[in-house]
Structures are given as structure tokens and as C-alpha cells.
Symmetry: C2
Subunit: 282 residues, 2 copies
Amino acid sequence: MKTETTIQGLSASLNPARAARKIIGFVPTMGNLHEGHLNLVREARKLCDVVVVSIFVNPIQFGPNEDFDNYPRTLEQDQHLLAEVGCDIVFAPTVEQMYGNKPRLTNISVGGITNDLCGEQRPGHFDGVAVVVTKLFNIVQPNFAFFGQKDYQQLAVIRQFVRDLNIPLEVIGVPITRAEDGLALSSRNGYLSAENRAIAPTIYQSLKTAEAELHAGTQLADVLANIKATLTAAGFVVDYVEVRTPELQKIEEFDQDVVLFIAAKLGATRLIDNMQVKYTAV
Amino acid sequence: MKTETTIQGLSASLNPARAARKIIGFVPTMGNLHEGHLNLVREARKLCDVVVVSIFVNPIQFGPNEDFDNYPRTLEQDQHLLAEVGCDIVFAPTVEQMYGNKPRLTNISVGGITNDLCGEQRPGHFDGVAVVVTKLFNIVQPNFAFFGQKDYQQLAVIRQFVRDLNIPLEVIGVPITRAEDGLALSSRNGYLSAENRAIAPTIYQSLKTAEAELHAGTQLADVLANIKATLTAAGFVVDYVEVRTPELQKIEEFDQDVVLFIAAKLGATRLIDNMQVKYTAV
């Protein structure tokens, strides 16, 4: 496994693969890798000849009061983990390598689906994601790109701009990886105190309960209210509990497949999770 | 020469060239081709193995009161001209082929350099250009893309987002092609009455005069005022007469290379032109 820190170095490393028309798979990450990321790499390994993983903590997707400076950077440990799951090339550029010295004037925004859910609390966040992911796509030029369904809204945003801009690759969404107690894996879980870590799986439990309620015919509004009550009682400060179509459109009745979304704070740590619920007539 | 009207057809036509690692040159146009466009194709022909020209009147770069519906569409004539100058593939998609049935949610905006000059009178115009050019770049995936310097601001916008988004191609700016009397060639010249066509070269003459004045040490503000007075006296309604650095930054003194910009209406027809003026100490 190679590590490249410059765009030029990465191009040189990828050129033989491109010339041989090999299938290139790409997993963009911000590092601090856990089993969720490694499952993305394993998925890429299955489908592709060459697997590239980027590790880049992208400043422009963090808000002014968010944790950019303190976001965990664990490159050496990440490299060991990636070598074990068969990554071929790690791309770990500096901020200067990615954004240069001259000011960036270009922005990419995805209307409609970025204004609510996580977008409401994090203005500009998805623009920052769209810009960096587009840059990385243009640098790596993969055939397939792999993203976790845990960041469901992010995945939907990426699918949307890939389609709207005719970016020549296929986006693959990979199911959420969970701890044994159901907590969705996230780099931010490391911020939780032991006590809060024990409470955190309530999010997943409340989603499972909601799924059962929906299938039993409970009204959608009541199901959402129950999640909120459960989380609040457990000590969370709820950001949102929402339901959407798989394409993130609002929905009033459980009359098709839906996705349930939760964002909630436990102490200073904001956790998100979601669950796709299949429609079944009661 | 082939003509392709679908993205899939174009990909099929380009695949052998891509597999053979041939150099692909791309000239995006809105059709109604004149010598200016043909010079772009000749430039591409010199540098590239395969030359693709797109003909697509892009609805999203026209304002509500602009001439989208009446913009001249002359595909057959364009095909004849392109065959003569050695174009290999014409890509002439429908609006539906480019934008599909589902709503487009993604926008690309280039801050700073799109808000004045032509951007002030045409809000959203350069966003529409950025989106369609990005789409075409992703569809054609050329090594080189050719644009005329006549649309200098457009060229600067394209260079900017190509750099900001790491789009893997080189942008080539090609000098303005002029009629014998100096009028910059443009599809919109065809809208001019015979009388106005005779007046139109005043734009170029005023730029040449301005260049001489600058080199003779006339103050920048006076030079711009002289252009305005000349055009107004000739019967133009001036949109703007401006001076910028080559990167479109505002400038107060003639102390480096500059570009002079004119946009002016003659009857209902809006004409633009520009001239790069080398700095020379007086």
C-alpha cells in the first residue's frame, strides 16, 4: 500500500492503472477510521481492481463553532487498518494541496434537500461537502465511489449532484455498520463519556421501536413523538426527529418506503442515525 | 464526421479513442457557427487527435427576457462548416437529454468575478454557463477545451471553476476573430440592421484608440470616458465600459497589463468586445 500526499503523486501512482483501463474504486474519508469505514473499503475491494482511500479533514464543511481543529487525526493508525483490508493507495493531502494559495471562488450548492435535517443546523455544510467531493472525484477519477448510509442526507446530496453534473462514476451506498448494542459507528462516538456511551444505543432502539410501530399501524406523527419522548427521557437534547421519502421529500403518511432520521446531542456530542423502513400495508 | 445526439451515443463513439489514450479536444458552442468558432476548431485540430464540437443552446444561461426561443438554430449548416475544418464528432443533444425529466437541484456559482461586467445585467447567466460547461466536460472528458477570448469574462469564469474543482483538463483561450472592419464575430451580429452593422465597428475602433491613449499616458478614467463618448455619439446605448486586470480584478491605474471591456446596445442587439493592453511605461 502506498500513501500519496500530493495530487501529482497520486496521478503518477494511478496512471498505470488508468492506462490499463482498470476499475478504480474510491472511498473518501476524514480519517479516524472505524469498522464503518473499513466496510466501505471491503465493499470497494470486492468490486474494483484498484482501491483508493482519501483521508482529508475538509475545513470548508465545518462551521465556525464546529470541531475542525479538534477533529481526531490518526493517520498512522488509519494506514495500518487500511493496509489490512486491502487498500492500494491512501491519498492524504494537506489543506494547501487541496485548496492552494489563491482564494477559491467556486461553490456548489444542492437546493431543496440540503436546507433541512442536518443542513438546517449546519449552514454551508453540504456546500463544503459537495465542493470537496467533486474535487476528489476529479482528482481520483474513479469508476465507483463508496459512501456510508449513516450520513444518509450526505449520500443523497452526492447522488444528486453526480446526476445533475453528469459526473462519470457510480455512487454506491453501503449499509450502516453498528456496534453490538446497535449504536451506529462514528468518529464522534469517541467523544462520549462512558456514561453517555451506555445511553447512546437508545437512538437505535427508538428507531427499531418506531419501525415496529409503523408496521403495526401507529400514526406517523405519534411514532415521531414517541421517538422524541424516548430520547429526551434518556437524556438527549433532540435536534430533529424526521421522516422522509428515500429521496428526502417530506411525507405525511406511511404509504410508501420511508427513512426515519434522528439527530440528537448527548452532552456536547451530536449523534445522527437513520433507518429505512419498508412500506407494508397494515 | 459523426453527429451524436445522446450522451450514450457520444460515449460509444469516444470509447475507442479513450481506450487508445488519444488526445481529445473539445469546443463547446451554441451553434450558428461563424469563423470565430471555426478558428476554435482549427486550434483544437492542431493540438488533438480527436475533435468534439458540441452544439447546444443552453436554456439555463438565458434570462427570462433574453433570446433563448429566437436564438438561431442552424444545425445542418453548422455540420457542413464543421466537416470542412476537420471536426470528428458533433454532439448535438436535446434539452431533455442534457437536463432530463427530474428537476436539477445543483448549482455552481463563481463568486466575485461574475457579479459585475456582463454578470450585473444578466443575473444567473454565469451560473448557467458553469453548470452546462461542467456537465459537458463530464460527458466529453476532453484533455483540452477551447474557448474564445471574445467572451473574456466567461473564459475567466471557466478557468476559475476548472482550477477550483480540479477538473482534469486544460482550458485554451483563443484570440478574437474579427471581420475585416474590426467587428468581433458573434452570432448576434446577424440581428443587426445594415445601418447598425455599418456603425458596429466603432466598438473596435474605440478600443484601438483607447490602447493608443493608454500607451501615450492618458489617464485611465479619461480613456474610459472617451470610449463611452465615442460610442454614445455613434448611436450606442452603453451597458458598461470597464478596465480590469487579466484576472478581472478592479484597477485604478494603468500600471500593469489590463483588459478593456465594452458592452453596448445597438438597437435591440447587445454587443460585447474586449482588448488586452500590454503595460508599457510612458
